[in-house]
Amino acid sequence: MGLSNFVIKYRWYIIIVTLVLVLLGIIPLTKIRVNPDLESYLPQTMPSIQNNKKIGEYFGNDELLLIIFQTEDVLNEKTLNRIRKITDTLSIMPQFGRVYSLFQGKDIRSEEGSMVVDPVVQRIPDNEDDREALRDAIRKNDLVYKVVVSEDFKYALIILSSDKTVNDDHLMQLIHETLQKYPGDEEIYINGSPFLRDEASKKIGRDIMLLLPIGLLVMFLILYFSFRELRSVLLPFFVVLFSIVISMALIPVFGWEFSLIGVIIPVMMLAIANNYGVYYAARYQDLRASQPDLEASELAKQVSGYLVTPVTLCGLTTIVGILGLVAHLFRPARQMGIVSAIGISFALLVSLLFIPAVLSLLKKGRIHKDLQDGSKGFIPSLTERAGEGITRHPKRIVGIFILFMAFCSAGLFFFKTAPDSNDVLPQSHSFNKAINIMDNSFGGSKMFNVMFQGDVKDPALLACLDKYEQELKKVPGVGTVTSLSSIIRKISKTLNDSTDAGYDHIPDSREGVAQYLELYSMSGDPQDLEQFVDFDYTSTLLTVQFKAETIGEIRSLLAKIEGMAREDSLEPVIGGYTLTDVDINESVEKGQYYSLLVAFVAIFILLSLIFKSFQAGLIGSIPLAFAVFCTFGLMGWLGKELDIVTALISSISIGLGVDFTIHVFWRIKWELAHGNNYGRSIKATLKTIGRGIVINASSVMLGFAVLSLSAFPLIRSFALLIILSLFLCLVCALVLIPAICYWTRPKFLEK
C-alpha cells in the first residue's frame, strides 16, 4: 500500500492525531522561560566559567551596574545633590552590595606630617571658588579621578554591585524608581549585565509578540495572492501554525530556556514550513484544472502520490542542513538546530499526511484556469532568458561567477568576529552609549581580573603584582590597572614624606606590608580592601580596565597577561566578564566551522545517495559553498561581524539552498530521460521548475524579511544576511548549476 492509499484509508486517524498533538503542544507553551543571559549557555568546562567561579569563591560573584550622569559640569550643585541623594537611597537598599560614587570616595593624603582621611566631598560647593577647590582635590585623587568622575568633568558615575540572585527586572525597577524620585536635567546612561539581560528579556517578548503576527499575516497574504482560494491558503497556513506550536513547545519540554536567538525559531518555521503545503496546494489546483472529473479522494491520492518523493527529499535536505547546528559549540544554537529540525520534520509529516487527508474530505475546489499557464509573466520570461544565456555562454557564466567570488573573497580580509555581545542592543541604546562613554572618558568598558594566590603580605609577591601593573599599563587601550600593590604604594605616600625612601614604595619587609594593611583596614571601609585581597590574605586580585574594538586586541592583551604568567611561578587565574566574551566569541567561531563542516558533509552524502553519484554531491555542493563563501566575503565588505546570531546563517542557508539544486538536477535528469538534449533540457528546466523555485525562494526570503523588524540589531543583520545567502543559493542553482551541467555533462544526470 502506497502512502497515498494509506493517507486515504486512515485519514480520520491522521487528522485527529495531528490535532491532538498540536493541542498537547499548546500546554507547555505557557511554561516557556526566557533567559537572555548568554553566559549561562556556555559549557561549564569553558575557561572563563571555571576561572570566574574560582575567583568568585574568594571575591564574590556580584555583578556591576553603572549609572552615568552627563552634564556640562558634574560638579554643579544640582548634579552633585542629585548624585548624593541617589547614592544615599541606593546604598541603603539590601539588593545592592556596594555603592560607590564621588560621595563614597575617600581623600587619603599626607598633610603636614599627618595622614588625613576625609570624604572627597565634605560639602557640596555652592560657589565657584569652592567648586574649583573640589575640582583640584579630585584631580589629585586617583581613587575617584577617572574612576567615578571623567577627565573633563562631564560625566560622573555611580558604581553598584548587585547580587546575582536578585531578579534583573526588580533591580532595574529599583534603579529607575530612584532616578525618577530625584529628577534632574542630566542625561542618564546605564550599563551592566543585569541591565543588558533585563532589556534583552523585554525585547525578546516584544519581538515574539510583534514578529509572529506580522509574519503570519505576510504568509497569509502571500498564500492568498498565490492561490486565491481559502483551502489552498489555510492548509499550508495551518502547517506553519502547527510547526510553530510544536517547535516552541519542545523548548520547555526539553527543559530548555528561550534565548535571544530563539526569536528566529518561529520565524524560520514560518518561512520554511509552508513550502511543503504550498506544493500540495499548487499540485491540487493543477490537477483540478487538468482533470476536473476526478473525485476529491482520488485528487488527494494523486497529489500525494506525485509529491511524496520530491517533498520528502526537500524536507530531508533542509532538516539535515539545519541539524548541522547540532555540531555548534554554543548551546542555544544546538537547541535551535534540534527544535527547528523536529519542527520542520513535523511540518513535512503534516504536509505528507494531514493535508491530503483533509483534501480528500473537502468538496472539490473551483477550477483556476488562469493558474494553468505558467509561461507568462516576469519570472517565466526571466528564467526563459536565463536558459537561453546559459546554453549560449556557459563558460562565460562560470567565469562571471568566479570573478564575483574573487571579489567577495577580498572581503574576507575584513571579515571579523564580534569582540563582545554589545550589539545585542542598538548603538543608540543607553547601554551602548554608556559603553562609549566608559571607553572614551574612563578607563574602558572591558575588564580582566587576574587572581594571584600565595602569601599576599610577601613583598616579593607585591613586587610581582607591581611588575604586572607597570607592564600592562603600557599596553595600548589599557585604561587602569589596579592591584594591592597600588594600594600599598598609595598608603606609603601618605605615611612617608616625598623625600623618604619609603615614599611610593612597597615595604621591604612582610611586617611593613602587614602594618600598612592593618592601618588601611582601620582607617577605611574593609570592603575597599576586600575588592583586592581575600580575608585570609592568601589571594589577591589585579583588575585591568581597558577598551578594545576587535577580538584581536582583546586576545593580544590576554596573550600578554598569559605570557607574563608563564615567566613567573605564580600561575595566576585569569577571569572577568571580557574573558567570557572571548569564550563566547571562540565558541561562536569554532561552532560556525563545525556546524558548517557537518552540514556540508551531510548534504554531500545525501546528494550522492539521492543521485547515486559522488559527482552529484560535488556539483550540488557548489552553490552552497559559493553562497557561504560569498556571504562571508560580503559580510567583510559590509562590516557585518560574525556573532552569536549570524553564525547560524550558513547551516540554515545550506539546508534551504540545497532544495533548489535538487529540483534543478531532478528536472534536468527528467528532461534528459525524455529524450531531450542538454540545451533543451536546461531551457525546459528553467522554464518549468525555475518558476516554482523562484516563488518558493521568494516566499522563504519574505518570511525571513520579517526578522528585519526585530528590536535586536543582531537579528536584523541575520535577516539581511540569510536573505542574501538564499538569494546567492537561488542564483547559483538557477544559473551556475545549469551552466556547469551544460559544460561538463555529468553522467549522473544521464543515468
Binding site: S91, E111, L495, E511, G512, A514, Q515, E518, L519, S523
Partner: protein
Amino acid sequence: MKLLLKSLFTGLLLLSGTPGLFGQSAAEISSKSREVVDLGTMQMDFTIYIRDSRGSERVRQLTMISRIFNDVNKTLVRFTAPSDVQGTTLLIFDNKDTEDDMWIYMPALKKVRRIISSERGKSFMGTEFTNADMSKPNQADFNYSLLGTADHEGKACWKVQSEGKDQTINKANGFSRTISYIDKANYLCYKVEYYDLSGNLQRILTSHDYKNVTANKYFSYRTVMENVQNKRVSEMVINKIDTGTKFQEDIFSPNALQQ
C-alpha cells in the same frame, strides 16, 4: 574617629531607655547601666577574633590602657599579636567637643604618624563592630521606647528600642535603630539588635561572662557581634583587666609611642 574601646560596653547601654516604668525613665535605666560597667581608669588585655562566612579566622591580640585627663579620655591600644603587626600602637584622644586626635606608630616604619579622619560608622579594625559602636552615643540624638519585656537566657529583661532622631544621625552611626535587652535585676545589657538604614536586622551583639570587677562594677569578658547579612562574626574576649593602676599622662603622648 571617636574610638574608645572601653565605652563599647557602656555606650551600648546608653542607647537603651524607657519612657517611665516603675518610676524609671529610659535615661535613668541607661545611666544605671552605664554606671554598672563604668570602670574608669583601666588596663585591659584582649583578643579579637574575626571570622568570615566560610569560617576563616583572623586573630588580633591587643593591650589597652585608658584614663581621663581634663575631660579628655586618652586611650593607648597596642597590638601584641600576630607577630607581623606586633608593636603597632594607636593613641586616641577622645575630645569632648572636637574631632578625636589619633596617632599611629608602626614599628616597620619606625615613626609616629598622626591620622586625621572624619570617617565614622565604619568598621572598627576590620571587625563587625563599628567606630560608632565604640563611641559614647549622645543621648539627645535618640528617641527611646520600651517594647516590653523579654526573657534572655532565663533572665527577665527590658526590651528597649532607641531610634535616631533623623537620617543624619542614623547615617553617622550606621544604623536606624537598636533593640537592647537589659536585665531588670542588675541593669546589665545582654543583647543588642542593630537594624540597618533600610530597617532590616543587620547585626546582633551579645555580651557574655559578666564578672564582678570591683564593688558593684561588672564587665562582660566575651562580646560577640554577628552580622546576619554578611554572615561574619567578630568576638572580643577579655583576657585580663586591671583597674588599680593610675597611669601618668606622659605615656599618652605621641612622642612616647616609639618607646
